[in-house]
């Protein structure tokens, strides 16, 4: 067991290291930081002096070392575009993205899992067919299209909900939340549904197919032969066995929400990390790109680790050795 944890930690480190390497490579070979920073009429000599001062003429691995050192301290330099420290920008925009992702995740799970269970148990009912149709539509519509459609219906035609921004936000010290005001909620509903819809349908289909698979196993057949009630069979046995693989996959999916937020934030002009990243790509603002990459990698690695642990906790076959 301990060996397993060590292995995963080790792998996570390697992933972070590789991502850092990638970010660093981008830093150095794409675009010239000096040219970004100074005006047009700075002389070449001055530029060289600047390069020296910034340590850009030092050997590569020294620079990488410094980069890593800085990264660990959350020091990513200055954004070319905004002329402000990147770390500050990230902290500013993080709450917006996290709140959005969190809400979307809850939506996806709270709707997806029950729908999946229902369609798994009642394969042929009318409601199941409706659910399946909805899920098909959900999978077929790209996130941005869903966003646009929602805006079209609720903002343009009905004029119920705002189509951009976070509404009124309340400052809780380091965290600016939009969840404490009505306008904040009005603003977050559409983006959250947009972001979560795709994941919701995925989860629903996953739960459904796992459920169908489980219902065909021998142990369910044996449970029936023992006379257990439908409730005990469906929820006690089938559901539990279904959720084990689902939990882990769903966990990974939820993790990817943070990245998918890029799209939703663009459509709704939501002032979060994703929008910042996108704008950074368009102007090739390397410090932001690198920082965002490392941040996302960190999130993913953490989520992966948690999911792996979860698997371990939930499935006894992994925990204990077999056959006495």
């Amino acid at each position: 067991m301990i060996g397993f944890i060590f292995k995963r930690f080790f792998q996570s480190f390697i992933v972070m290291f590789l991502v850092a390497l990638l970010a660093f490579t981008m830093f150095n070979f794409l675009g010239d930081p000096v040219n970004q920073m100074v005006g047009i009429d700075t002389t070449a000599a001055d530029r060289d002096a600047l390069r020296d001062r910034l340590g850009l003429n030092d050997p590569l691995f020294e620079q990488f070392g410094r980069f890593l050192g800085n990264a660990v301290q959350f020091e990513f330099g200055q954004s070319y575009q905004h002329k402000r420290p990147v770390a500050g920008l990230i902290l500013d925009r993080m709450p917006a993205t996290l709140e959005l992702s969190f809400l979307a995740a809850i939506f996806a799970l709270a709707v997806g899992v029950p729908m999946g269970v229902y369609t798994g148990l009642h394969r042929n009912s009318v409601i199941s067919k409706i659910f399946m149709t909805v899920s098909l539509v959900g999978i077929s519509l790209p996130t941005f299209l869903i966003g646009i459609l929602l805006i079209f219906i609720f903002s343009v035609q009905l004029q119920w909900l705002p189509s951009f921004g976070r509404g009124e936000v309340v400052d809780l010290g380091f965290w600016r939340t939009g969840l404490l005001t009505t306008s904040g909620w009005k603003a977050i509903i559409m983006p959250a549904v947009t972001l979560g819809l795709f994941q919701m349908t995925l989860i629903m289909r996953l739960v459904r197919s796992e459920m169908l698979e489980v219902l065909r196993t021998d142990y369910i057949k044996f449970a029936r032969a023992r006379g257990l009630s439908s409730r005990a069979i469906n929820f006690g046995h089938a559901l539990k066995n279904t959720l084990v693989p689902v939990i882990t996959i769903a966990g990974l999916q939820i993790g990817s929400l943070i990245a998918f937020a890029i799209i939703t934030e663009t459509v709704f002009q939501w002032p979060g990390l994703g929008l910042m990243f996108l704008q950074a790509i368009q102007v090739v603002d390397i410090p932001i790109m690198a920082a965002y990459l490392m941040l996302i990698a960190f999130f993913f690695v953490m989520i992966n680790l948690i999911v792996d642990m979860l698997y371990y906790v939930v499935d006894p076959r992994l925990r204990v050795d077999s056959a006495l």
Partner: protein, 582 residues
């Protein structure tokens, strides 16, 4: 009062094209305390009857006609909830594979308590105590400790005991056991059968045992019904049915069962089922292609010599060599096989016999030891190209007819592959000619070449495998449990074919099996293996009559006692060899 009465039962499976009648005209009666066997080959419909009684037929299967009554009450069309109340409480069922029958996520205790509380009104504490009691009754040692474990932590035999305990939770009057020992080792089988017999007598429980294994029938059933293609062809007290069968199918079925107490020249044919054995073209070995290049240099000494062979598998990988766990499958094994003889390797699963075979065949590189073949040392040869001439002379037939043929290739290509690879024919037409010849020789007919494996039955596929093995005109044939996956009647045909081929082509064979009676019929000399080591090597007759090693004696004891079986239709090897087992 009759416990179970089945009257003119008919079960149908309506399909897209037509309706498939799984079983019909089934009449059966069972008293409390009686063990009733339902025997037949695959597809006979025995499981269907069991499923129909407990109402667990796979949709769209349903009872089309007839009645099933439990203690006088009709149960064939009961509504779901009423039937559910009966399941587990009055009728229990156990399946073949104990590993998949138990939910891996719950402890044994949780599953037992849940079932107990479904049927009996007991508190949690009482139910837990009852669970431990049940485990004790099925013979699980230290039940208070083991009740808290998960299913995967039990060995196969123990797991099946847990399954039986679960079926007993509701104190049922009738248990349906569908192939309860088929997935278990021979020694464990005997234990489980003993347990079943004990429980039935103690609790006056009726049991229907569904099986294809005559040994099980002979061991514990009181009455037996023989099934063929959905109908009962004969039924009655076990001793009578086995000793003096009347129906031709029963007769041929029994005659095809390999005997431990006799040696036969050939296995009798089960004509009733497959029709007469496909005629095989006679041919003159010296002029036929198969007989060409039989001029292998006759080496003095044995054809195959295995010397101190050791084979290990890594079970736990680690960067630290000291922490690596290694499993020794074959431990310092040595034996010789003389040219023209059939050498048997027998043992239980895990004994290492298959590993030995595969190492000789070149699929594994041994950790230590040497293999000598036809004068050359195989293990010392480095490089595939140099091994190739030896590979031509040695071929292998495998156990599972369904996975030993590539389902995407035509039979022609499957059998032709070795010929083409070793460039043994001079033109495309010649290859086709050779393959068709081979197919005819193994009894499949020339037309089989154009078809795909899935169009053939298990026995026919083994024939294709044999044809493939013969394609390179080998002198040594390794047969790894070639008939274990086949029905008894088909087994007889394939074993006969192997015997015939050996005679005609002068083949040397290494025959591997866990089935002692088959070994007795097929082999000249036998080695007994256990846990990677050889316990004893002897001439077959001597091994069976006067075993030297304690383990051999143990194995012999475990063989199904089939003395009462009718000997009608058997061709005995030698009148003097009939052992009187009175």
């Amino acid at each position: 009062m009759t416990l179970l009465k089945i009257d003119d039962l008919k079960v149908e499976f309506p399909g897209r094209h037509d309706t498939f009648v799984a079983v019909e005209h089934i009449h059966l009666e069972l008293e409390p305390g009686e063990i009733y066997g339902l025997v037949g080959e695959s597809g006979a419909g025995k499981s269907t009857i069991g499923n129909a009684v407990i109402d667990l037929l796979e949709p769209p299967g349903h009872v089309a006609e007839g009645h099933i009554s439990l203690d006088g009450m009709a149960i064939e069309h009961l509504p779901y909830e009423k039937m559910r109340a009966i399941r587990g409480r009055r009728i229990g069922m156990i399946f073949q594979d104990p590993l998949t029958s138990l939910n891996p996520l719950y402890t044994v205790e949780q599953q037992l308590v849940e079932t107990i509380q479904t049927h009996l009104n007991l508190s949690d504490v009482e139910a837990a105590a009852r669970a431990i009691e049940l485990l004790q009754q099925v013979g699980i040692p230290e039940p208070e400790v083991r009740v808290k474990l998960y299913p995967h932590q039990f060995s196969g035999g123990m797991r099946q005991r847990v399954v039986i305990a679960l079926a007993l939770c509701g104190e049922p009057e009738l248990i349906i056991a569908d192939e309860p020992t088929t997935a278990l080792d021979v020694s464990i089988q005997a234990q489980i059968l003993d347990l079943i017999r004990k429980l039935c007598k103690e609790r006056q429980m009726g049991m229907i045992i569904i099986t294809h294994d005559m040994g099980v029938i002979a061991d514990i059933t009181d009455n037996v019904a023989v099934m063929y293609r959905g109908q009962i062809v004969e039924k009655g007290p076990t001793q009578k049915i086995l000793g003096a069968p009347e129906h031709p199918y029963t007769k041929s079925l029994i005659s095809a069962v390999p005997r431990a107490d006799l040696r036969l020249t050939r296995f009798p044919m089960v004509h009733y089922i497959e029709g007469p054995e496909p005629a095989r073209a006679d041919f003159d070995v010296t002029t036929h292609w198969l007989g060409q290049s039989r001029n292998f240099g006759k080496s003095d000494g044995p054809l195959v010599r295995v010397e101190s062979l050791t084979m290990q598998f890594v079970t736990a990988r680690s960067i630290f060599p000291s922490r690596q766990k290694v499993f020794t499958a074959v431990d310092n094994v040595s034996f010789e096989i003389r040219e023209g003889e059939t050498f048997g390797l027998v043992g239980e699963s895990g004994s290492g016999k298959s590993t030995v075979a595969r190492t000789i065949a070149g699929l594994y590189r041994p950790a230590a030891g040497a293999i000598h073949f036809a004068g050359g040392e195989l293990t010392a040869i480095k490089g595939e190209k140099l091994l190739r001439p030896y590979r031509q002379q040695m071929q292998m037939i495998f156990q599972d007819p369904y996975s030993s043929l590539n389902s995407r290739m035509r039979v022609l290509d499957i059998v032709a592959e070795p010929i083409r690879f070793h460039k043994l024919a001079s033109s495309r037409d010649e290859v086709v000619e050779i393959v068709e010849d081979l197919l005819e020789h193994v009894g499949l007919g020339r037309a089989a070449a154009r078809r795909f494996p899935h169009e053939f039955s298990g026995g026919q596929r083994q024939r294709i495998s044999i044809a493939r093995a013969l394609a390179t005109r080998p002198r040594f044939l390794i047969c790894d449990e070639p008939t274990s996956a086949l029905d008894v009647s088909i087994q007889a045909q394939i074993l006969n074919l192997l015997k015939d081929l050996q005679e005609e082509l002068g083949l040397t064979m290494l025959f591997i099996s866990h089935d002692l009676p088959v070994i007795r019929q097929m082999c000249d000399r036998v080695a007994v293996m256990r846990r990677g080591k050889i316990c004893e090597i002897a001439e077959t007759e001597q091994l069976f009559e006067a075993p030297g090693h304690a383990y051999t004696r143990h194995l012999l004891e475990l063989m199904p006692k089939l003395e009462g079986l009718s000997r009608e239709g058997l061709q005995l090897a030698d009148e003097n060899v009939i052992r009187n087992t009175q």
